[in-house]
């Protein structure tokens, strides 16, 4: 595909005017809501055609707000822990598919793609109605939240791991290692895993940005008990629009940085594949 796209690009070296105008309008339309919020966050008020009174007050207020840092910390913990749990679960499970019984691949795909089809609302209310009030460890809101996030990021990490395993032909590697007298599990850990780590990295980053951007699960399961950054934003929206605009900018910058890293890593692997 990438080869085709490249030849197409070479042919259409000159951009038609109509294309420039249309793409420009769409890009502008997509950028305006964020750009407005960004400008809004830098001014005292915007009650006329133009904003007035440049200030960094919103940001200084935000950065000295302990609740903000707590919610950022919670969000990071949720991101890291749930993504690491999912990676560990899937790496173990995929060992069985690659080295023991590859027929299980279909089941894995089924189980991992369900969350993609269902998304947050269904997942969160299913978990709440199953565990709330059972009085066990499972009814702990935090445990529920980690469980929910683990499921939420399954599709993304599964795709990443599966593609990486296919790319290096893990089955053949394990067979080769076995012929040389290495156990299957050891071959998986010592030969296969080091080779797929970089492939998993991209999908993990993608999963991080999904957890970072989640509002549904955090709000439905934990709510105000364990505010993540999105719930924090929602709680502040009615109170202070200046502060909220600064939070929106910070969220956008963080997710944007992660996305840029993902894109960079992806184009890097594409290039090395071409060579």
């Amino acid at each position: 595909m990438s080869k085709k796209a490249r030849t197409a690009g070479d042919k259409g070296a000159k951009t038609p005017l109509a294309a420039k105008i249309f793409l420009g309008v769409v890009a502008l339309y997509l950028l305006i809501p964020f750009a407005t919020t960004f400008v809004y966050s830098l001014f005292v008020e915007w009650t006329d055609v133009l904003p007035s009174g440049f200030t960094l007050r919103n940001y200084t207020e935000l950065f000295t707000n302990a609740t903000f840092w707590l919610s950022i910390g919670r969000t990071l913990i949720l991101c890291l822990v749930s993504v690491i749990i999912t990676i560990a679960l899937l790496l173990l499970a995929m060992y069985v598919v690659v080295a023991v019984n590859r027929k299980l691949g279909r089941f894995m795909q089924f189980a991992c793609m369900i969350p993609y089809a269902l998304q947050g609302v269904i997942l969160s209310i299913g978990i709440i109605s199953l565990y709330t009030g059972t009085g066990t460890l499972l009814s702990n809101r935090m445990v529920m939240l980690f469980g929910a996030y683990t499921i939420l990021v399954l599709p993304y990490i599964y795709q990443g791991i599966r593609n990486a395993l296919n790319a290096i032909d893990a089955e053949m590697l394990i067979q080769a290692a076995e012929m040389l007298g290495c156990g299957r599990f050891r071959a998986y850990v010592q030969v296969v895993l080091p080779n797929i780590i970089s492939g998993i990295l991209v999908s993990s980053l993608l999963a991080e940005s999904i957890v970072f951007g989640d509002f549904v699960l955090a709000n439905n399961i934990a709510g105000t008990n364990y505010q993540n950054i999105q719930v924090f934003l929602q709680a502040n929206m009615d109170r202070s629009s200046g502060l909220s605009s600064a939070i929106v900018v910070i969220i956008f910058l963080v997710v944007g940085a992660v996305t840029a890293t993902v894109l960079k890593l992806q184009s890097g692997t594409q290039k090395s594949q071409k060579e």
Binding site: V26, Y29, P33, L89, A117, V121, I122, L138, M237, L263
Partner: protein, 295 residues
């Protein structure tokens, strides 16, 4: 299996084989506890009648006869469909133009798409409030310069929701459609011109039919994406709107008492809609892949 007396070596191999499956256990436990059992719980709750307490379709009958829930389903489907169709039309044109552009323009445009495809949910709702809310920037502009569409625009309505949904559909749709255009050959255009086909013929009889599987597949992704969207709608109108995800959530969480029976039945309706979308998408994805092989 009638095997000869197992030697220690073969027995060890068998244990090892069995041990291999142990690696699957943690995954199975988590998937069971947080994916399959919660779904089963919803399904069971939806089938146990709220008043009668017996198994049956009582909850579903109630949903389909209560105006609020009827309205929620209609609104959800309508807003999702409308935003998906508008999204795909804009995305088709954008992908077409991006494909005709130089690599530099295309890369810059794709970067904007990737960046803005993350801009959804609560931040997006807030940005539109700044832009078009009661004292939004555009609203003020509309009042100053006498543009009634901007001045009187009601963001906190189905009209406003549609505008927001269209916004988050466009980058997603374009990113999904762009690769499909790589399958359109330059030679087709030349062949069509030689055969005296008009530009209209070229687009509507060659390009669009060829891209149809990708277009319909993308459409179903967009539809289900809008159907399940919660954060954007909640941040804008809270639970005070007849929309499926909002009504479902309010039954489990909110000021009123928990009503798992009705909530689960509504959730099952949403699940069915989503599953249909996924099946439609799978069908068209396979068709699209097949189509490209032939070409």
């Amino acid at each position: 299996m009638a095997a000869p007396a197992p030697t220690p070596a073969s027995r060890r191999l068998k244990t090892r084989r069995w041990m291999g499956y142990a690696a699957l256990v943690p995954f199975l436990l988590v998937v069971l506890a947080y994916e399959f059992l919660p779904l089963a719980q919803l399904l069971i709750d939806s089938l146990v009648g709220k008043e009668s307490g017996t198994v049956g379709v009582e909850n579903f009958t109630k949903i389909f006869t209560t105006p609020l829930y009827q309205q929620s389903i209609v609104n959800s489907v309508w807003i999702s469909l409308l935003s998906a169709v508008v999204g795909i039309v804009v995305a088709f044109l954008a992908a077409r133009f991006a494909y005709e552009s130089s690599a530099r323009v295309r890369n810059a445009f794709t970067l904007v798409l990737n960046m803005m495809s993350n801009f959804s949910g609560v931040p997006l709702a807030f940005a539109f409030m700044v832009l078009m809310g009661n004292s939004g920037v555009l609203t003020i502009l509309g009042q100053r310069f006498g543009i009634p569409f901007l001045a009187d625009f009601d963001l906190y309505s189905s009209q406003g929701l549609t505008v927001l949904y269209v916004y988050f559909q466009i980058p997603l749709a374009t990113l999904l459609l762009l690769p499909a255009f790589a399958g359109i050959r330059k030679e087709w255009r030349e062949a069509a011109t030689i055969l005296k086909a008009t530009t209209f013929d070229y687009w509507f009889k060659i390009v669009i039919p060829n891209l149809m599987p990708s277009i319909l597949g993308t459409l179903s992704v967009l539809f289900s994406n809008a159907l399940a969207a919660y954060a954007t709608a909640y941040a804008l109108v809270m639970n005070n709107f007849a929309l499926l995800p909002l009504q479902i959530t309010s039954k489990f969480k909110g000021d009123v008492q928990v009503d798992a029976a009705t909530g689960s039945a509504l959730a099952v309706v949403l699940i069915v809609l989503m599953v249909v979308c996924t099946l439609v998408n799978n069908y068209f994805t396979k068709r699209a892949a097949k189509g490209r092989e032939i070409v």
